[in-house]
């Protein structure tokens, strides 16, 4: 059955088998392959002796180097903490004024803060901190709960409308949906609020509605937003007389806000960021506002 032939190209014999025209040569395994096999095995066996490798019932071979990934990572974490401690201790302990005045420290804050902001805050507030619809711009001068590093740190630590015991709490009721105001009142108070930042809206034909809206505002909205609609940072009530809007300052969005109410949410970072990280971010965010117009 075995018809061994000589292959003219390689000069090797075939094995003598044939499958539908396919034959095989009886070429010995090239020496390079065997060498390579030995090298990889020696390498593997070397590592088995050096590091944890083979199970032995309830334990395992620990290896001559005494390395284990758990202890390695713990040591690395401590190294990293020590490397950072130069500036993290200062950020934890020094007052904000001192930090802001130290140009070298502020460079570190800007570098580190940019990365921390990108990983923790940018998803909502944007990479540049300018926010977008429903998420406040952090680069402007307008603050719901007050600017400055201390108040920003406080907002970050407890969050807004969170489960944190000291959470900042703020809610704009749904005046229309919950029938505290009727349809016409909602429209007129929105028209009034809109006119505050859009003087050209106060045309003679709109004037009646705006005036009616002002009365509704004084009785219903002023308690939080103030007589002059300038808001109250103690309770997170936005200033309605400036050009900065969280949810949008066009007439339709204002009507929607009055009708359906608003209750923003900012997570608490108390247990997710270290004090140094939070204070870095507080300075960084404050710095965003002072750097840009």
């Amino acid at each position: 059955m075995a018809d061994v032939e000589r292959d003219p190209v390689t000069g090797r014999d075939t094995t003598g088998h044939e499958w539908n025209g396919i034959k095989e040569l009886d070429t010995p395994i090239p020496r390079g392959v065997l060498m390579f096999l030995i090298v990889t095995h020696v390498w593997a066996i070397f590592w088995w002796f050096m590091v944890p490798a083979w199970p032995l019932g309830v334990t395992y071979t620990k290896g001559l180097l005494g390395i284990d990934q758990q202890t390695t990572v713990e040591a690395r974490v401590i190294d990293g903490q020590q490397q950072r401690s130069g500036w993290t201790t200062r950020l934890e302990n020094e007052p904000y004024d001192t930090i802001l005045a130290d140009e070298a420290l502020m460079r570190t804050v800007r570098d580190t803060g940019r990365q921390l902001f990108g990983d923790n805050c940018a998803a909502c507030h944007g990479r540049d901190g300018r926010g977008r619809a429903n998420y406040p711009d952090l680069t402007d001068d307008d603050w719901l709960w007050g600017g400055g590093p201390e108040l920003i740190e406080q907002t970050m630590r407890v969050g807004i409308n969170t489960a944190h015991p000291e959470s900042r709490v703020s809610q704009m009721p749904a005046f229309g949906r919950d029938e505290m105001l009727d349809r016409e009142q909602v429209r007129s108070v929105a028209a009034y609020v809109y006119s505050l930042t859009h003087p050209d809206y106060s045309t003679p034909e709109n004037l009646d509605r705006i005036n009616a809206g002002r009365e509704v505002f004084v009785t219903t909205c002023a308690a939080c937003h103030g007589e002059n609609a300038q808001g109250d940072k103690e309770i997170g009530a936005p200033n309605l007389s400036d050009p900065y809007w969280v949810y949008g300052g066009d007439l339709d969005t204002i009507i929607a806000s009055v009708h359906g109410g608003r209750q923003g949410h900012m997570p608490t970072w108390d247990e997710r960021l270290t004090t140094a990280e939070m204070r870095t971010l507080a300075v960084y965010v404050h710095d965003l506002g002072t750097e840009q117009p």
Partner: protein, 545 residues
């Protein structure tokens, strides 16, 4: 299709299709308040459709008595068509998810089209749909020719092929509906998994029974690989998918594996799916179609033995390299790493055996794009197995893990190796199966080859670049010991590479569509081949059997 089945076999086929439809009805009723019900309807329509097909030609002429004197090629032909259809679907989904990463709005704000649901339709579509059907088809072809025997069953090849496609259909439609086990490459839920076990065991029995009927004294290498592929995939599939459904009327199940053991079982499965589905199976293809096309004997039988046993033994240990620096104990990681490196030798021995087989046929490689497909496949196989062993080394993995480098590595293997060897094999197989002299257009094969090569190279280079940049950005610290980049920074840096990757994938998809057209036209219009003997050995013709 039924011309080769006797009326009794047609009755069995009808009963089987009816049973599937009834099972679908039962699923639809029991699971009516769940997505399981939707899958019940799909199963019912599938079974009903098949029953209708059987009935449509139920009373056609019976096969002649000498049907066993011919190879059984009908299921292979259907398998090739299904494979190419899945290729276009799966690669299209791949281009879509690639584009989603560059332009997220392409999800069009719908739940079914989110990245998490589309991505497994791509992986299942190409691995199981395209690759699986190609493996079933070519394995049926190879086992018959190298055994010089007809397939051992008449109905079972159809059961394997169509049953497997029902599994793929349930898997892919399930993802779009939100049904998933969240196990990579094993996302299909418990009922689809159970069905696949039945199909796969049938496949194994059919294959072994055909080998047992062989008229050759020795079992050819390709069949070793196909048998390893079928056997080990069955084991992997069963162990990894052990799960408890929350009720018989619901699609959701929970795996029986807890915590890090689940991760280990998953990657033992995942890596051996690469080994036995995407490597062993396709090496089976390579070992048949490459020497046939090159008209050369295999370079070394001894090297075949070394690589086969090396691959089957070492791969089994390597899965834990997917879990470096995780909760998995350090010693398991060391074993995964060292066995991955030892695995390189038999892997390269296979690639070398293939390339050295081409000695004496390099002029054919130059002139014949079909053979060049297989040559390039062997080169990419060598490249990606080297890369895989390299990435399995822990410190290298510290850089590459979780980055696009992994994605690039997978695609060097999937596009460069798996898809190229499949196209080369199909271009060899299609003319011989439909008794054509050659493919309809050699130019189109050439066009497909260059589209596929260009697509693969662009894809892999884009992912190498983006992966290494990602890995470096994630580990760069400032002098003060803080991270230099946020995660979003690394995403912004990926943007141009994501566009390049989508473009590379698109070229590959266009190549596959060109291939479909060429195969279709070959079946329709290529000149008939001169009559050649292509039939099993008859018992009487073998003296002394």
């Amino acid at each position: 299709m039924l011309a080769n089945l006797t009326s009794l076999e047609r009755q069995y086929a009808l009963m089987l299709a009816g049973a599937v439809a009834l099972a679908g009805l039962a699923m639809a009723v029991v699971g009516r308040s769940d997505v399981l019900g939707v899958h019940g309807v799909i199963v019912m329509v599938f079974g009903g459709g098949l029953a209708w097909l059987v009935m449509a030609s139920f009373y056609g002429p019976e096969p002649t008595d000498d049907r066993t004197a011919a190879y059984y090629d009908d299921p292979i032909k259907v398998g090739i068509v299904l494979s190419m259809a899945w290729a276009v679907f799966g690669m299209f989904m791949g281009v879509w998810v690639a584009a989603l990463l560059a332009w997220p709005d392409l999800a069009f704000d719908a739940a079914w089209s989110t990245f998490g649901r589309l991505r497994p339709t791509h992986t299942t579509g190409v691995i199981f749909g395209f690759g699986g059907n190609a493996l079933i088809a070519t394995s049926f072809h190879v086992v018959q020719r190298t055994s010089r025997a007809r397939l051992a069953g008449q109905l079972s090849p159809w059961f394997v092929l169509l049953g497997f496609n029902l599994f793929c259909l349930l898997a892919v439609s399930g993802y779009l509906l939100g049904v998933t086990q969240s196990k990579e490459y094993a996302e299909a839920e418990w009922y689809a998994d159970l069905w696949l076990v039945i199909v796969w065991v049938t496949y194994f029995v059919l294959y072994i029974a055909t080998i047992a009927r062989r008229k050759e004294p020795h079992i050819y290498v390709a069949n070793w690989y196909f048998m390893a592929f079928i056997l080990v995939v069955a084991i992997l599939h069963i162990v990894n998918n052990l799960a408890v459904p929350i009720s018989w009327g619901q699609a959701k199940s929970y795996t029986i594996w807890p915590g890090v053991q689940d991760a280990m079982v998953q990657w033992w499965y995942g890596h051996n799916a690469v080994a036995f589905f995407l490597t062993a199976g396709f090496l089976g293809m390579l070992y048949y179609y490459l020497p046939v096309r090159a008209k050369r004997p295999i370079f070394s039988y001894r090297l075949s033995i070394l690589s086969f046993w090396g691959i089957t033994f070492f791969y089994m240990w390597a899965g834990s390299h997917h879990l470096h620096y995780t909760a998995l104990p350090h010693w398991v990681q060391t074993l995964g790493m060292t066995f991955s490196v030892m695995l390189l030798v038999p892997s390269w021995a296979s690639a070398g055996n293939a390339l050295l087989t081409l000695n004496g046929a390099w002029h054919r490689v130059r002139d014949d794009a079909t053979l060049r497909f297989m040559m390039a496949a062997a080169v990419f196989y060598g490249l990606s197995t080297f890369e895989g062993s390299f990435m399995a080394i822990r410190p290298v993995n510290a850089l590459s893990h979780y980055t696009d480098w992994t994605v690039g590595h997978v695609h060097a293997g999937a596009l460069g190796w798996v898809a190229l060897i499949t196209f080369g094999s199909l271009y060899t197989l299609v003319p011989s199966l439909w008794k054509r002299e050659r493919m309809y257009s050699a130019t189109l094969v050439e066009v497909h080859f260059w589209l596929a090569i260009a697509g693969t190279v662009i894809y892999v280079f884009a992912m190498w670049n983006s992966g290494i940049i990602q890995g470096l950005m994630w580990r760069t610290y400032t002098q003060e010991g803080a991270l230099a980049y946020s995660f979003v920074d690394s995403l912004v840096a990926m943007y141009p590479y994501y566009i390049a990757r989508a473009f590379g994938g698109l070229l590959f998809l266009i190549g596959a569509i060109v291939g479909c057209y060429n195969i279709w036209m070959t079946v329709r219009a290529a000149p008939l081949a001169a009559l050649r003997s292509d039939a099993p050995v008859q018992p009487a013709a073998v003296p002394g059997e």
